[in-house]
């Protein structure tokens, strides 16, 4: 099995490790410098959360590189396989082994985070409450019957299902319970609703594509939705825009339907109410000393008061709420304020901490052994 052996050797080799370290180093450098021009989100998408990258050297020379995602997966394999192939029990190696287990844990944890983490934000005015939070980056299209007050079933299309449908492309989504098929197309990552939008009824304005903002939060996407009635075949078109505060209402099959392009939402198993937001400055400065939110958690009718502040998040049932921002920042000094919480549900939340402890112990153990051996040798040399 020379081929298998050769591949195994390569996969477990230090040479590959070094190559991977250098590649990741290069990507990190390029991704950092790219932020100056293109902001964090776009650089992150391009260099780190990708399989392949084409970096434009000197602005015009295309340099193909593996993306951060690919490099990290291969690193994981290299590390794991290296450990399997080279593993020999000895006290001398035990520190290094522990350290590598720590790093493997860290990498594994980050894959788990990448795959399963829900992260977004929740903004509440004082005395307002909510049991859902929305994504900061991901869009969704929601369709449901427009009815006054009564809760309705809403059908959700996630962004990954429609963000490839740019320019002339479109896709038809079928829901058996709806009297129409929904054709989505003309997706724009950042768009403006054309003039006349304010006076025209929702959904009839003209979408214009804009170049992407450096700050991803400021991009407002747009798409064209067409309701194709199953019976009559009649088509009703609507322009969806994330900047709209209210859903677009379209008539189809004799009923009114609400369509909205909005930030993706997650439901929480409990409700949070903001009672009071406080912002304290260092005396005689404009520098914030502390932001804090007094909130009440309402769950199954039971209420509990909790304080959320910087560096002291609220953790409950797998969700963590962080004090993230506040506003209106140039509003009246005495409020009313709203407080923004970053909300994260990450099953691998505490993995980095464990990994840090394991790796730290491993490295300290190993290098202490080396240092003591060296000191012993020096002493022997002198005497």
């Amino acid at each position: 099995m020379p081929v298998f052996k050769r591949i195994s050797n390569i996969l477990a080799s230090y040479k590959l490790s070094c190559l991977l370290f250098l590649l990741l180093l290069l990507l990190t450098y390029l991704g950092t410098m790219n932020q100056v021009e293109n902001g964090l989100y776009q650089s992150q998408q391009k260099y780190f959360e990708s399989v392949f990258v084409v970096h434009w050297g000197f602005g015009s020379v295309p340099i193909p590189l593996p993306g951060g995602y690919l490099v990290m997966i291969v690193t994981f394999v290299n590390l794991l396989w290296g450990a399997v192939v080279r593993f020999r029990w000895s006290w001398k190696k035990v520190g290094i082994l522990i350290a590598h287990v720590g790093i493997l844990t860290l990498l594994a944890g980050s894959f788990v985070s990448y795959a399963f983490c829900q992260s977004g934000h929740m903004a509440l005015y004082e005395n307002e409450s909510s049991d859902e939070f929305e994504s900061s980056y991901e869009w969704e299209i929601g369709v449901g019957e427009a009815s006054a007050g009564a809760p309705v079933t809403e059908y959700i299309i996630r962004q990954s299902d429609f963000d490839g449908l740019t320019y002339g492309q479109s896709r038809t989504f079928k829901f058996s319970a709806l009297p129409f098929d929904l054709k989505i197309g003309g997706y724009m990552p950042n768009a403006a609703m054309g003039n006349g939008a304010a006076s025209a009824p929702h959904g009839t304005g003209k979408l214009t594509e804009l170049s992407l903002n450096r700050e991803q939060e400021q991009n407002l996407s747009g798409a064209t939705a067409t309701l194709l009635e199953k019976q009559s075949g009649a088509a009703h078109e609507a322009q969806l825009w994330a900047g709209n505060n209210a859903p677009v209402t379209v008539e189809a099959g004799g009923k009114q339907w609400n369509l909205a392009l909005r930030r993706h939402r997650w439901k929480l198993p409990f409700t949070l109410r903001l009672d009071h937001f406080k912002r304290e400055l260092h005396p005689r400065t404009n520098m914030a000393r502390e932001y804090s939110s007094q909130v009440t958690k309402i769950e199954d009718g039971a209420e509990r008061e909790i304080r959320i502040t910087m560096n002291e998040p609220l953790r409950h049932r797998g969700y963590t709420f962080y004090q993230s921002s506040w506003g209106p920042q140039n509003g009246p000094a005495k409020g009313p304020f709203y407080s923004v919480f970053a909300v994260v549900r990450n099953p691998a939340d505490q993995i980095p901490l464990y990994s840090c402890i394991i790796t730290g112990i491993g490295l300290v153990l190993h290098f202490m052994q080396r240092l003591l051996a060296y000191l012993k040798k020096e002493k022997a040399k002198k005497s």
């Binding site: 040479k15 370290f21 950092t32 980050s110 005396p283 404009n286 520098m287 910087m310 060296y374 000191l375």
Partner: protein, 648 residues
């Protein structure tokens, strides 16, 4: 920073500049030679500034550092003044202070641009010399302010800084004007009832009577119509008081009574604003203001002045103590009197000279001991300074970019001394003195460049001693050890380049061992520090890793060190390779430490210093040249080695 921006905006938008005030026209007495006692009284006077209560001495010293670029300034006769003496003269003898050459101008183009005759290319100017060009300075400053920061030339930036300094100086010299001023009551008949048998009154008296003043004003308003002359007269008096005090903002000398929610100390301007908005000032604050008025008005009689100063100091001290804000004042004055970082620089320079002598007389045991002792002593001094700062701020050692410089130097030198203690090769010893000189030089330069207090308040997210102590300290130790390995590698590369100790293979092997050892040490701290940073971010923002530039910088250091150590395991890097790689590691650390802060993006772009950019690029270039030379030396030696068997 925010304060600077606001200040800049106020200056150049002309809100405050309509009047170029001529201060106290009458001929004032000239300032005395301040005796030690009086200086010490004023030095330890507490004042609130930038979020904390500090000694007036610290306040004065950083103002002088900002204007003058050093901590002493010559008076009109050329005699050197301490920051405290200079500041007291500014407050109490403003006319004399206007003649001091206090403003440092690095670029005479600034002077030419405002229409004055420059002295030397770089020189010092007095307020009196610059004031004829005041209007021009404001006009140009306003013009440059419109420009994008990146578009401004060095001259334009310097001109704006000069304009700001001039304005701040005006605020200092006019600070006590409102305390010296007596408001005439004879011109304002309505006041007579409130101040019986008085022809004039002081600001504190007006503020004491503020509630009655307002009741009287409201009564009058009810009784008479809006255009009544007595009402106008009343309003004119209030306006006079307000105008006289509006610029007295520089020193927040008057603490509120102890108690929760009373965080902010008041300047005279604040007191007027508070009293005039209907709130009640505490009697203690008003007494202090009255005391300050007596002090400011008794400059003609030095004995009376000293008496008033002692009284003011006594009551201010008592009040600050009651608020729990006086405890560290004495310690801070002591810290700056001791000048540990400047003196450490001098001692490191001395030790460098001693080490140089030691290389010429390697057998001298006395020289060896003296060099080691001098480095040890300066490191102890440096550490004392760091510890004192920790005690004063109740913080771990590293909270700002400035403090990283101090800490990195201390750690790097301490680790070098440990190496020297182990192997007695004198390489680590020599490097320790070089690193000490470089670090302290950088620290002193940085302090002058910033020109503002280096013990600053922390923004909300950084306000946590636990994470500052763990993550920041660890990562900074990582920087120190990494830079040390780079420093040691210079000895190897330059030694091989110039073929020093050509046949001493053990010497070079020992060097590489030291480089490797410090790399391992660095890796432990870089890895743990970087991950800890992620854990902190996860606690604060809910994400472990966000590809923020500073995080990326730390990751780059870790990756580079990992690459070196793994390449060594594989035999890809041997002696030369490891040393050259360690030098490149130094460049990576410099990028992470300072470079990313200059990108102006991300969460860590604090301590932004644009002029320092050039120095950093210089460092990159220099180190790249060393790496290049190292490669040449390696190729040369390599060829010699591989040519030998053929020749043989």
């Amino acid at each position: 920073m925010m304060r600077q921006v606001i200040c800049l905006a106020l200056i150049f938008t002309g809100v405050l500049t309509s009047a170029f005030r001529a201060v106290a026209a009458e001929r004032a007495p000239s300032p005395p030679q301040w005796d030690k006692n009086t200086l010490s009284l004023f030095s330890t006077l507490p004042v609130q500034d930038d979020g904390r209560v500090k000694p007036l001495d610290t306040f004065a010293a950083f103002k002088l550092l900002k204007f003058h670029g050093s901590r002493s300034c010559p008076d009109a006769e050329g005699k050197s003044l301490t920051p405290m003496a200079w500041f007291m003269n500014c407050i109490f003898y403003p006319d004399a202070a206007k003649e001091y050459n206090v403003f440092r101008v690095d670029n005479d183009e600034v002077i030419i641009a405002i229409g004055l005759l420059p002295k030397k290319k770089r020189d010092y100017y007095s307020y009196a010399e610059l004031s004829p060009a005041h209007e021009k300075l404001i006009t140009l400053g306003r013009q440059y302010m419109q420009k994008d920061e990146q578009q401004r030339s060095v001259m334009e930036t310097e001109l704006m800084a000069l304009g700001m300094n001039l304005r701040e100086f005006e605020e200092i010299i006019s600070f006590a004007d409102c305390a010296r001023k007596k408001f005439s009551l004879t011109e304002h008949k309505e006041m007579a009832a409130l101040f019986p048998n008085q022809a004039e009154c002081r600001l504190s008296e007006v503020l004491r009577k503020a509630p009655q003043l307002f009741t009287a004003y409201m009564d009058l308003k009810k009784k008479s119509d809006a255009a009544a002359p007595e009402l106008k007269d009343f309003a004119a008096f209030l306006k006079e008081v307000q105008d006289a005090s509006v610029d007295a903002t520089e020193l927040a000398l008057f603490p509120p009574p102890a108690g929760p929610g009373n965080a902010e100390w008041y300047s005279p301007a604040d007191m007027v604003q508070v009293a005039f908005s209907g709130e009640i000032l505490s009697a203690a604050q008003l007494d202090l203001l009255a005391n300050f008025e007596e002090l400011a008005s008794s400059t003609a009689n030095l004995d009376a002045f000293k008496k008033q100063a002692a009284t003011l100091h006594g009551s201010l001290r008592a009040q600050a103590t009651a608020r729990g804000e006086y405890g560290k004042i004495g310690l801070e004055v002591f810290l700056y009197r001791m000048q540990p970082f400047y003196n450490a620089l001098l001692l490191y320079v001395l030790s460098f000279i001693l080490v140089a002598c030691l290389w010429m007389r390697p057998a001298s045991k006395m020289l060896a001991a003296a060099s080691f002792g001098a480095i040890l002593l300066s490191t102890v001094l440096l550490s004392c300074g760091i510890v004192l700062r920790c005690i004063i701020r109740e913080r771990p050692p590293v909270t700002t970019l400035y403090e990283t410089i101090l800490f990195v130097t201390a750690v790097a030198v301490a680790v070098s001394l440990f190496m020297e203690w182990v192997n007695h090769q004198r390489v680590a010893l020599s490097l320790a003195s070089v690193l000490g000189v470089a670090g302290m030089f950088l620290a002193n330069k940085y302090e002058v460049r910033e020109g503002s207090d280096t013990m600053v308040s922390m923004v909300a997210v950084l306000d946590t001693n636990f994470w500052l102590a763990t993550h920041v300290t660890t990562i900074t130790i990582g920087y120190a050890a990494g830079l040390l390995s780079g420093g040691l590698a210079h000895v190897f590369v330059l030694g091989r380049l110039f073929r020093l100790r050509r046949d001493d293979r053990e010497f070079y092997r020992g060097l590489t061992r030291m480089v490797y050892g410090s790399l391992c040490f660095a890796l432990v701290f870089s890895v743990v520090g970087t991950v800890l940073g992620g854990i902190w971010a996860n606690e604060s923002w809910g994400r472990f890793w966000g590809w923020d530039p500073k995080e990326n910088g730390a990751l780059m250091i870790v990756l580079w060190q990992l690459a070196i150590l793994h390449a060594r395991m594989d035999g890809m890097l041997r002696d030369f390779g490891i040393n050259i790689a360690a030098i490149i590691g130094g460049i990576v650390i410099a990028f992470s430490w300072f470079g990313v802060n200059m990108l102006g993006v991300g969460l860590h772009s604090y301590g932004f210093a644009s002029g320092a950019h050039l120095a950093l690029v210089g460092f990159y270039a220099f180190e790249t040249a060393i790496v290049f030379l190292g490669c040449i030396a390696w190729l040369r030696d390599h060829n010699v080695k591989s040519a030998r068997p053929q020749a043989g």
